[in-house]
């Protein structure tokens, strides 16, 4: 009878131990995943993807990683150069303030649009929203992970 008791207890403890082995293995996977996400160098704040660009510069499908302040316009000194005949040389600026993205029109001739509506002086813009500058449309997206 005693031998059985020892076996029973060994099996019980093995079960409890295995529960934690499972959790530890899961932890390792989660840690690896988090480290990989932390190593991601650029584009942590978000990115702009070109949805439509009739003039071809920037080309459609291209994605730009964003800094805290990103300027857009026809002038070559802008972070994102938009070579479109309806874009002004200093057209708009995207800023990340606290917890959200904002777009500000810099007095452009033809205006800046968020989801097809003219943007007020400083307009909030969320991930998935579309920014219209001249004929170019860009979508704000989260930074890619993994």
């Amino acid at each position: 009878m005693d031998a059985l008791l020892v076996v029973v207890w060994a099996v019980r403890l093995a079960f409890l131990a295995l529960l934690f082995v499972f959790l530890l293995r899961v932890m390792r996977v989660l840690l690896r995943d988090l480290r990989a996400a932390a190593r991601e160098p650029a584009g942590l704040l978000g990115r702009l993807v070109v949805v439509a660009s009739p003039a071809g510069d920037p080309e459609e499908g291209r994605s730009f990683d964003l800094d805290v302040i990103t300027t857009l316009g026809r002038d070559v000194n802008n972070a994102i150069v938009i070579d479109d005949q309806f874009a002004s040389s200093d057209h708009a600026v995207l800023t990340y303030r606290g917890r959200s993205w904002y777009v500000e029109d810099l007095g452009s001739t033809n205006g800046t649009f968020v989801n097809g509506r003219p943007a007020a002086a400083v307009a909030p813009i969320g991930f998935g929203d579309e920014l219209g500058i001249g004929q170019v449309r860009l979508r704000l997206e989260r930074a890619r992970s993994g």
């Binding site: 029973v8 093995a14 295995l18 499972f22 293995r25 899961v26 998935g128 579309e130 979508r139 993994g146």
Partner: protein, 490 residues
């Protein structure tokens, strides 16, 4: 610096109709992490089954593990299906859920089998077999949803329709629901019966994700000042008040404190996650405390629950019986527990804890697996929440981020509410412990949650649709946009 979806954007511009990106070539893709974790789950559950058999009868025969074998077979099938479909979805969620479900299976096989019976084709299934059936359906359901759902448009677009469906479900339960133990929770339609509140929590999260992601800029940007508080515009607080009223209505009419607490907690957490406004949470909590104080004055069943919570030992054989027995069970378990199958069997012909299979599975596990086992189980729930939040953080847009966060929180908060109830940390409410409690509605609703999380975690899903203008005149602007597009196409 490349396009987001290389296969779609480059090749579809040619002549003819190219297959959409989502139906691209299906190539099997190994999921080694998931395979290893599943192997570990299988080993753990087998050892658990051996432990249970040895304790109950002193021997172990292969026939004992038949039910477990079926369950592990279903898990294997779920894994193989995902490998064959070549999905790059989350590899941790299903093994974790599989482990919790397996522990549930062992527990239900160990409890008296006549707690629940189901007659199928002449033979009678006991508690363990019925739970096995539901667990297999849940795993199959979660995997199917994870594989089939390739677009969230049907969730995103019809959020108000979903809200209406939810309210209709609630009203149906109010009117036609049958009362069980003083709670009007169960709805019978023909031969089927279920608890709509389980499904309602999923619908609530879908609606909130749609509503909050669409109105997020407005909720963040604009202010209404009310004394020292800076609130979002009052018009956007209306849904919040409606939510509060619904939660209180659930308490009054359905007498379902747990569901009300769950709905409201998830609502507040999501509102905070979407806007970062602490004032919303403060106001919500104040409303909730005021509401519950008034309720405790007005309604006996609320006051009883609170009195039992404060001092269950005032009436240990009557009102406080369940919770006192639960505390004793945890105490008997101690650090390592008595071992599966070695907890107290029926005392004097009745269960030590009434409703042990639905409301107190954690107490049973606390007795048989001890503190160590309970910590491991709570750890599994934490893993599920972490995965959900991570999927939310990596999501492509606000809707998916809020949806994933909400789905994870629904499981986490529900597990917390019932675990805290069993341990006398919170007043006891009758919600189920996800994946562990007996019950078809609960298992299937949580399977939908896991299925949606799996679908959201897949990196190959359809990109989010082009956004539509938001705000008061959004509808008109959307129409203008649509007609302009039509003109452009013509």
């Amino acid at each position: 610096m490349t396009a987001g979806n290389p296969p779609a954007s480059g090749s579809t511009s040619g002549s003819g109709v190219a297959l959409p990106h989502i139906l691209g070539p299906i190539r099997p893709r190994p999921r080694m992490t998931e395979a290893k974790l599943f192997a570990l789950v299988a080993l753990t559950l087998l050892v658990g089954r051996v432990s249970l058999s040895l304790t109950e009868r002193g021997t172990f025969e292969l026939a004992d593990a038949r039910g477990l074998g079926v369950y592990l077979g279903v898990l294997l099938a779920a894994h193989v299906a995902q490998v064959l479909a070549g999905r790059r979805s989350d590899q941790v969620l299903l093994p974790t859920v599989g482990l919790l479900g397996g522990i549930s299976l062992l527990l239900m096989q160990r409890l008296p089998q006549d707690l629940v019976t189901l007659d199928v084709a002449g033979s009678t299934l006991g508690l363990g077999d019925v739970q096995l059936l539901w667990l297999c359906l849940a795993i199959v359901g979660a995997t199917t949803i994870g594989l089939v759902v390739r677009s969230d448009r049907w969730l995103r677009r019809y959020k108000y329709t979903w809200a209406v469906v939810g309210i209709i479900l609630l009203l149906l339960t109010f009117v036609f629901g049958s009362e069980v133990a003083g709670q009007r929770l169960t709805l019978r339609i023909g031969p089927f019966s279920g608890q709509p509140s389980e499904l309602l929590k999923v619908i609530l999260v879908i609606f909130l994700a749609g509503y909050l992601s669409e109105n997020r800029p407005l909720l963040i940007e604009q202010d209404t000042r009310l004394g020292p508080f800076r609130l979002p515009p009052l018009a956007y607080l209306a849904p919040m008040l409606a939510m509060w009223a619904i939660a209180l209505g659930v308490v009054v009419v359905q007498r379902d404190l747990g569901a009300a607490l769950l709905f409201f907690a998830v609502f507040l957490a999501l509102a905070y996650a979407a806007t970062g406004r602490l004032s919303l949470v403060v106001i919500g909590l104040v409303l909730f405390l005021a509401g519950s104080t008034v309720m405790a004055q007005m309604f006996d069943h609320v006051r009883d629950r609170i009195n039992i919570w404060i001092d269950p030992f005032a009436d240990p054989l009557g009102a406080g019986y369940q919770i006192v027995q639960s505390l004793h069970a945890f105490a008997r378990g101690g650090l390592l527990g008595t071992g599966l199958g070695a907890g107290l069997p029926t005392v004097g012909g009745r269960l030590p804890i009434p409703e042990i299979h639905t409301d107190f599975p954690l107490a049973a596990l606390g007795e048989e697996l001890g503190l160590v086992g309970v910590v491991a189980i709570l750890g599994c729930f934490l893993v599920i929440v972490q995965r959900g939040l991570r999927i939310g953080a990596a999501a492509a847009d606000d809707f998916r981020a809020i949806l994933a966060t909400g789905l994870a929180l629904v499981i986490g908060v529900q597990a917390f509410i019932i675990a805290a109830g069993n341990l006398k940390v919170l007043p006891l409410t009758g919600v189920t412990l996800p994946f562990i409690s007996y019950g078809g509605s609960s298992l299937l609703a949580n399977a939908i949650v896991i299925g949606l999380l799996l679908a959201l975690s897949d990196r190959g899903v359809e990109p989010p649709p082009a956004p539509s203008p938001v705000g008061r005149d959004g509808w008109r602007a959307r129409r203008r946009l649509r007609s302009r597009r039509r003109l452009g196409a013509a």
